[in-house]
Symmetry: C2
Subunit: 252 residues, 2 copies
C-alpha cells in the first residue's frame, strides 16, 4: 500500500482484524464506491451496480457504510429484510443481493457518532458479517475524506476504488482531495465516473486524465430516477442503469 | 437547550470556551446553514446570504467549517485574501465580508482528520478569530449529523439553524435525521429551504409542516450557477440570489 499517510495513526493491533480477513476470504473482489462529496449519486451507483452484477449471475454483496445517511436499503426497497444470527450475522438476500447496512445498527434515528465510534462500528460490522462466497462485494463508502475512508482501506485490504463525481467545479474540488489521498495511499483505482451531466463538458474527463485515472464516461442527468427509488425493477429500465452497465463491463 | 442528547459526551471544561464566548460577544446573530446531506447547495446559500446581508449595509462574518471540502472561498473568489495576526486572528475582508475558513488551516491538501481533531480545530479557530462587531455571522456547517454539528451547538451558543434540502426523497431522509436531532436539542430553527427544485412538488413543504418548521420556499434549479462560482457580481444577478433575498427578509 506504499508509504503510510501521515494521518494514518498507528494503533494497538485489533484482534478483530484477523477475523475480518477470514470473513472476507471468499470474497473475490471488493469495489468501494467513493466520492468525497455528498449528493453526487454514490449510493444509487453502488446499488445499481450490485443489481446489474447480480443479473449477470454473479454472487454479489452490498455493504452500506454511509453513516451520514445510509440509503441503499431505501433504493432497494428492502423493507422487512433483516440479518439473521448464526455464528455471526448472515446478511438478508434482497433482490438476490446479500445486503448489509449500518441502518440495521443505527436505524433511522439521529445518531451522531464520534470518529472512534464510527471506526469501531465498521470493525464490528465487518467482523460479524458472514458474506460467504461472493464474486463482488460493493461498498457504499462513508462520505468525505476523513478517517472513515482510511478505515475502509485498513479493514478491507483488497479494496478497489470507484470514484464518483459530477461535472461541477465545486464538487470536483472536493473529489480531487479524495483522489489525491487515494493516489498517495497507492490503492487501486478503478476509474472516475461522471454522474449527473447536463450539458457537454470535458471537465471530469480532463480531471481524470490529469490524475492518470481511467475516465468511465458520463451518465446523463435523469430526473425520473427519483420515481425509481425503492423499485429496482423500474430502476433497471432507466438510461442510468444502461450507463452503469457499460461501466460494469469496463471494471468487472 | 433542553435535555442533553445521549451522544453529547460530557468532557472536561475547556478554558477556550470562555474565550470563544468573549470573541463572539459583539456578534448579534449567528446563522448556521446545515443540511445533513452534502451536495444540496449549503455553501452557495451561506455565501450568497452573506453577500446579500452585506449589500444591505449589515456587518457580516462568514465562517466555513465544512471540513469535507471548504468551498466558500472558491465561491467568493477569495484568492490572495489571508487572515492577519493581531492579538488573535483578524479575518480578511472579501467583498465586504469578514471571511474565515478551515481552508486557511488545511489548504487544498487531502487531510483526513479524526473526530477529536476536528473538534479541536473548530475550538481553536473560534478561540483565535476576532470578529469584532458583526450583525450576522453566517456559518457554513460541517456536513452530516455527526459530532461536528454538536460541536457547533456547543461552541456557538446562540446559533440559529437554517436547514437546506432538495426535493429528493433520498436527501430528505438524511435531512430529516438532522432535523430530528436539532429538534431534540431544542435549538432555534429558522426554517427549511428547498433548493434545486426542478418540477412542482409539495414534498419539502409537507416535511417542514410535519416537523413544525417554517418552510422557506423553493429555489428553482439553475444550471448557470456553475458559471458564477468565483464571481460574486455575477452571482448576485441570478434568480438564485433573488430567491435568497426573499429568504433573507424572512429570517433577518
Amino acid at each position: 500500500m506504499g508509504r503510510v499517510h501521515k494521518n494514518f495513526k498507528v494503533r494497538a493491533p485489533d484482534p478483530r482484524l484477523a477475523i475480518i480477513d477470514e470473513r472476507l476470504k471468499n470474497v473475490k473482489r471488493i469495489f468501494v464506491v467513493v466520492s468525497g462529496k455528498g449528493g453526487v449519486g454514490k449510493s444509487l451507483i453502488a446499488t445499481t451496480l450490485s443489481l446489474i452484477l447480480t443479473k449477470r449471475s454473479h454472487s454479489v454483496g452490498l455493504l452500506d457504510l454511509d453513516f451520514h445517511g445510509p440509503s441503499c436499503h431505501f433504493i432497494l426497497g428492502a423493507k422487512g429484510a433483516m440479518p439473521t444470527e448464526e455464528k455471526g450475522i448472515i446478511p438478508p438476500e434482497v433482490h438476490g443481493i446479500k445486503f448489509m447496512s449500518l441502518v440495521y445498527y443505527v436505524g433511522d434515528e439521529p445518531l451522531p457518532l464520534r470518529g472512534t465510534e464510527i471506526s469501531d462500528t465498521f470493525t464490528e460490522l465487518l467482523a460479524i458479517t458472514r458474506w460467504g462466497r461472493v464474486d463482488y462485494l460493493i461498498v457504499d463508502a462513508p462520505p468525505g475524506i476523513g478517517e472513515e475512508v482510511l478505515d475502509v482501506i485498513r479493514l478491507m485490504k483488497r479494496s478497489e476504488f470507484l470514484i464518483v463525481t459530477t461535472p461541477s467545479s465545486l464538487v470536483l474540488k472536493t473529489v480531487s482531495r479524495l483522489t489525491r489521498l487515494l493516489l498517495e495511499l497507492k490503492v487501486p483505482i478503478l476509474g472516475m465516473v461522471e454522474n449527473m451531466r447536463i450539458t457537454e463538458t470535458k471537465l471530469v474527463e480532463e480531471h481524470a486524465k490529469r490524475f492518470g485515472i481511467k475516465y468511465l464516461g458520463p451518465i446523463l442527468f435523469e430526473y425520473n430516477l427519483e420515481k425509481c427509488l425503492g423499485n429496482p425493477k423500474k430502476l433497471l429500465r432507466t438510461k442510468f442503469t444502461h450507463n452503469i452497465k457499460d461501466i460494469a463491463k469496463e471494471i468487472s
